[in-house]
Amino acid sequence: MRRAWALSLLLHGALLALVLGRTPAPLPPPDPPLVVEVDLAAPPEPEETAAPERAETAPLPERVPAAPPPEPKPAPLPDAPAETDRPDPPEPQPEEATAEPQAEPEESAPAPAPAPPPEPSPATPPEPAVRELADAAPAESPRIRPPRPRPARLAQARARTPPVPRPRPARLAQSPPSQPDAKGDGPPLERADVTSPDPLDALLRSVEQVDRRLRDQERQQGRGERAEGRPEEGADAPAEADAGAVSLAELQRMVEEQVYRCWILPVGARGVRGLNVLVRFSVAPDGTVRRAEVVDRERLARDPLFRIVAESAIRAVRRCSPLQLPKERYAQWRAIEMNFDLEKALSG
């Protein structure tokens, strides 16, 4: 009896040891009680009771900014009344805050960002946060290392490069500006479908295509600087000069030149390819973009990808506001319809 008991103990012990040995580090349950509760409405904003859907559907609240853009005071409430009503030093009353549904600040008038004219992202820290791997294998890396997007640099580079009226060079400029000469001596290029029908893919990187693109880009830039002279000045000049000299086509080009620099293409999702969004803007005499309206509201309401593209478009124009356009021609640009053509933007 006693022996049997001892044996049993021994065997159980062995079994236990076996089991423990097998599983050195049991994990805690991978699905702990993580409860996603309800959506939250925006914090209090008393007077705004307009259809809450607008907050989602129309990414564009009507903004009626005071004509002279108030200088950026860090002091609270430089903004419209909508915000003054709010308990700004908020007493801890968050339950209410979250409970009360409201639309977005319709009249919040966030003061046309005083500074962001065509030059995008001036205030942002120069350090691009796309932290890339420092380097690949030291030996090969100089050639292998994928060219980094380096957004800040790219922006500057683009800004410096005279904006050529045709989109081609711009697309090339988009390809990564990394040491092109370092790549020249790489292994021979490989077959790759450059003639992809897919516009997004045209933008994608293939290690061997990049080599080619960089060379093209170099050439284009070099040529651009020499040949184009200073089209920038040419474009801006009419703003101050004789209004009669500005043709409709020139007006269009001036708008396009400003807006495209502010438009971050929403290429994160595959499905956005081929999406076009038509947005109507009303513009104040000082160039401030006041109102935006996506023409296809029905699609805006049902198609999340379309909405993402529409939002990116409207964000771009807001970011470029105020637009620099010849005042004498205000009648012509007080209402602008912009067709954001993602398909073309991606295919160049």
Binding site: P32, L34, E56, T57, V130, E132, Y260, E298, R318
Partner: protein, 442 residues
């Protein structure tokens, strides 16, 4: 989260408003402009530390925001703005932000939040995503969870933001399994390891006493299949990640490599070599049913299911050199899809079905590349001395693989996104190989 249904009345009202506008103003489209270019760059986003009433909550709020920011930065689609530039405090952000101030620092979107302790070890995290230029809230969500898994709350928040702003599902609340390697060459100790997608919470699941290879998550993310040599015959084991228990899935005469699950989780693809000839088999553990799918004197290996489970891509040298082939699930209709020069291997089908990733060897270099399932549009995303073992993130936008450095022999984990621009190292404590990316954690 997204409420966009318009009532009939609202639609009519909107239509009337548009009509009225049309009448009272000069016609729209007086100036019509086509915007046919733009910029490909990360979206600048501000991630404010989350507010809290007690110091512990404030501290948690700061750390959560840091993890959210690191996730978004790491995706390559966002560039978080240095918090030192923020003008509004976390407490001020308990109400609607002063958007003009955020525009000034270049933010296009803003994340704010509040952390509240609940009970002894619970907490509630509320966060909001704001469109700074539209001045509107894009997301408002509240998560309730145990305090000690606050990192998961942060990953979930990052997933929600990523999804809302890019239109793709997120991948931050996920794990990565890999083989941790230590010791000198020839005496490598290999352990099964698992960690969060961002490298945190690293754990070893085996003790290194046996050789382990090729971890693969089950499609539900709750289990991990791997190959282990216990004795001379390798077997496939399934580790239950909740209980920590191992269950043998099967032992097979002959070598076998790289088990891979069908999307429904009910069967596995194996490579079994008999008499030196490798062929592909499908194994159904529940019924202990083994079906041979290829029967060819050449080496057939590295099978991977399409996400619909109806086709299989694999590697074979039946054409004279290792190339990629696709066949139906029953083994019929075999066709070659890779035709470039060079050698192809390790194909894996994207969970989205749109591309197949592979390793390519050519001109002394290894590449990770992708091609369409019909073989078109091949693109090579990386190039190095040795890149191997691609595995997709659950949203199909990133590929995880290992890279060996010829100088010091270190093996590291790397990710590259499908655009090919964003190559990053995923730091691990030891050398790491054979990675597999989990689905989103349930």
């Amino acid at each position: 989260m997204i409420r966009e249904r318009w009532s009939r009345r609202e639609l009519l009202a909107a239509g009337a408003a548009v009509a009225a506008v049309g009448l009272s103003r000069p016609a729209w489209g007086q100036l019509r402009v086509d915007i046919t270019r733009g910029r490909v760059e990360p979206m600048p986003i501000a991630v404010s530390p989350f507010a809290g009433d007690r110091p512990s909550e404030v501290e948690l709020g700061r750390r959560i925001a840091e993890v959210v920011a690191a996730d978004l930065d790491g995706s390559g689609w966002f560039r978080t703005i240095d918090p030192r530039a923020y003008i509004q405090s976390p407490d001020e952000l308990r109400t609607v932000p002063r958007f003009a101030e955020w525009q000034q620092i270049g933010a296009q979107a803003l994340i704010s939040g509040v952390v509240r302790g609940e009970g002894a070890d619970g907490m509630a995290v509320e966060f909001r995503l704001w469109d700074v230029f539209a001045g509107s809230q894009m997301i408002g969500l509240r998560l309730v969870l145990a305090r000690d898994i606050w990192r998961r709350a942060a990953h979930r928040i990052a997933d929600a933001v990523y999804e809302r702003l890019t239109g793709e599902s997120g991948y931050f609340d996920t794990r990565i399994a890999y083989i941790a390697e230590t010791g000198p060459p020839g005496q490598r100790i290999k352990r099964l390891a698992i960690m969060d997608q961002d490298g945190y919470d690293n754990r070893y699941l085996t003790d290194g006493s046996e050789l382990v290879l090729t971890p693969r998550f089950t499609p539900d993310g709750r289990g991990l299949a791997y190959l282990a040599y216990r004795g001379l015959v390798p077997g496939i084991y399934l580790r239950d990640l909740e209980t920590g228990r191992d269950r043998p899935l099967g032992r097979f005469a002959g070598m076998n490599f790289a088990p891979r699950f069908a999307p429904d989780g009910n069967s596995l693809l194996l490579t079994i070599a008999v008499g030196g000839n490798s062929d592909i088999y499908e194994y159904e553990p529940a019924r202990d049913r083994l079906v041979r799918l290829t029967d060819h004197p050449a080496i057939d290996t590295s099978p991977s299911y399409a996400p619909d489970g109806q086709r299989i891509v694999f590697n074979s040298n039946r054409g004279g050199s290792p190339q990629l082939y696709v066949m139906d699930r029953d083994g019929g209709n075999v066709r070659r899809i890779s035709f470039g020069d060079g050698l192809y291997g390790s194909p894996v089908w994207s969970p989205r079905g749109d591309v197949i990733a592979f390793t390519k060897i050519r001109g002394g270099f290894f590449h990770i590349g992708v091609m369409r399932p019909d073989g078109g549009e091949e693109r090579l995303l990386t190039r190095s001395f040795l890149d191997e073992a691609p595995s997709f993130a659950p949203n199909g936008r990133l590929i995880l693989f290992h890279r060996q450095d010829p100088l010091n022999d270190r093996i590291r984990l790397m990710t590259i996104d499908l655009t090919g621009y964003r190559l990053r190292e995923l730091p691990t404590a030891t050398d790491a190989s054979d990675p597999d990316w989990s689905p989103l954690i349930p």
